[in-house]
């Protein structure tokens, strides 16, 4: 017989989250013939399509660095949308664990975000390699990319917890979120020029944390300039608020996952 008392609770919890995350990752990619290659191909093809469309068909005379500008925008948006889209149905999808083995619900969200983070980190690594071909310079402040990633991680977990709890009560909420993501894609400066945010649409900078994170990410990973610390502080506060609300809703209402069909 095994004896869980021999291991510290923290170690066991980390193992459990790691196990859930690796299982998610496995399920997502290993069922298909190209497997994990899709984790790179999907964003690369998106970037290429948008680059060709906007650089040659719509705007024509684009800065050569526009592909890097797009790369970061799409990587951030893909991470946010993939996580939250999966997050909507996460509680219902893991009902078999919650009901039969007493799974800690917050671990499900942590694991899901971690499994998606692997692809995101690999994409950022690819960006870093490509960027040398475009004469991008880095400094010690580029390490702040980790703080931005932590901010994004908090936001996706918090938002996913909120969405998943709402989905227990409104089963067609997933369609509403799909439309919201489509709208979100065009309200965040992924393709269009982010300087408009400061000059024309400042409410987008302060009202949408993804916009702020993206602008700061480009500052440190593309332009080698300082982060906007006010925006960073505000976005981190957004992350903490989303996480607190999500955690509260999860603890208060998620038991409904067993009661509802």
């Amino acid at each position: 017989m095994t004896n869980p008392q021999n291991h510290s609770k923290l170690k066991l919890r980390l193992e459990r989250i790691g196990m859930l995350a690796s299982t998610e990752y496995y399920q997502r990619y290993y069922g298909s013939s190209l497997g994990v290659v899709w984790a790179f191909l999907n964003p690369l093809f998106r970037i290429l399509i948008y680059y060709l469309a906007f650089s040659y068909l719509i705007f024509r005379n684009r800065d050569p660095q526009f592909i890097l500008y797009l790369f970061l925008g799409i990587a951030i948006w893909q991470y946010f949308s993939e996580n939250t889209n999966r997050g909507v149905t996460l509680l219902k999808g893991k009902k078999y664990l919650i009901q039969n083995v007493g799974m800690a619900k917050s671990d499900i969200f942590l694991a899901s975000a971690l499994s998606t983070s692997v692809s995101f980190i690999l994409n950022v690594f690819i960006y870093w390699l490509i960027s040398f071909g475009f004469d991008v310079e880095y400094s010690i402040s580029s390490i702040l990319v980790l703080a931005l990633f932590a901010n994004l991680f908090l936001i996706v977990i918090g938002v996913s917890m909120i969405l998943s709890t709402i989905h227990l009560y409104f089963s067609d909420f997933k369609h509403v979120w799909d439309i919201s993501l489509l709208l979100g894609f065009w309200t965040v400066p992924i393709i269009w020029d982010s300087t408009y945010v400061y000059t024309t649409y400042p409410f987008m900078l302060y009202g949408n944390p993804i916009t702020g994170i993206l602008i700061n990410l480009r500052n440190v990973m593309l332009y080698n300039t300082q982060m906007d610390w006010t925006v960073f502080a505000l976005d981190f506060a957004y992350g903490l608020v989303f996480l607190s609300i999500g955690y509260f809703l999860l603890n208060r209402f998620s038991y409904k996952v067993v009661e509802r069909a």
């Binding site: 095994t2 004896n3 496995y26 399920q27 083995v101 007493g102 067993v258």
Partner: protein, 264 residues
């Protein structure tokens, strides 16, 4: 009543459970609007009424009752998966595993991955469960299929795997929902009964829902009889069975009797 953590693993106090059922589908936004306009016809169904019970560590407790009497709701309440109405209180200590045919298994994963995932959730370290994996898979008689996805398993194979995990992995509370009925072939059934007769379940707390009165009589030290959401506790299983047969079932041969005859 106070919860004695040193002795009780489950304590339920003044717990009722009401489900609201709408004739119109309510899970969608449209359904919600429909009902908010007063066009739906909500009905309250009292699944459990003022339940008070305690389960001590190491006890083997049975739950019997007619279909739809509230047995499964009680099981879910014991595990903490369902919360009681306001005013009720449920306290459970430690980990649990609920043995049912679906269990906590993902059909897209192999037996090896499912065992690792479930054991990890139950608080067993990965190094320990890797050491035990061969023993589990041997017990379940699934050695050639250890890396096969569960979606290709038969119902009996899944049940054997679930049973092996529950027996081999150390959990504080084992919840069994008509488990013996689904274990599969006679050989494995005998093996499963042997587990109960020998020491593998020693020190484990087991709650078993069953329509098989012989199983209840043989293994349970205490029995809860559930009828229309009300729970009566009996210290002697034979008294519980007698009460169930005379007061609840009557003398008619209903579906429960039939299943008892089919699954001796």
């Amino acid at each position: 009543m106070t919860f004695d953590a040193s002795n009780n693993i489950v304590s339920i106090e003044n717990a009722s459970k009401t489900f609201t059922v709408f004739d119109h589908h309510v899970g969608s936004l449209g359904g919600r609007i429909f009902n908010a306009m007063g066009w739906g016809t909500p009905r309250k169904i009292l699944a459990l009424a003022d339940v008070n019970l305690k389960i001590k560590r190491g006890e083997f407790v049975g739950i019997i009752g007619k279909n739809g009497s509230g047995k499964s709701t009680l099981m879910h309440m014991i595990s903490g998966a369902i919360r009681p109405n306001k005013g009720g209180r449920v306290k459970r200590e430690g980990s649990f595993i609920r043995l049912s045919l679906g269990m906590g298994f993902n059909p897209e994963l192999s037996a090896r991955q499912n065992v690792l995932l479930n054991a990890s959730i139950l608080g067993v370290s990965l190094s320990e469960i890797r050491k035990q994996f061969d023993e589990i898979i041997n017990f379940a008689e699934l050695v050639p299929f250890a890396d096969t996805q569960l979606k290709f398993y038969s119902t009996g194979m899944r049940a054997r795997l679930a049973f092996a995990v529950a027996v081999m992995v150390s959990t504080d509370l084992l919840l069994m929902d008509e488990f013996f009925g689904g274990v599969g072939d006679e050989g494995f059934k005998k093996k499963a009964h042997k587990v109960f007769n020998e020491s593998l379940l020693k020190d484990k707390t087991v709650v078993l829902i069953s329509h098989n009165m012989e199983t209840i009589k043989k293994y349970c030290s205490r029995v809860f009889v559930v009828n229309d959401g009300k729970v009566s506790s009996f210290d002697n299983p034979e008294d519980a069975i007698q009460y169930y047969r005379t007061e609840i079932q009557g003398s008619s041969l209903d579906s429960e009797n039939a299943s008892e005859l089919l699954d001796p």
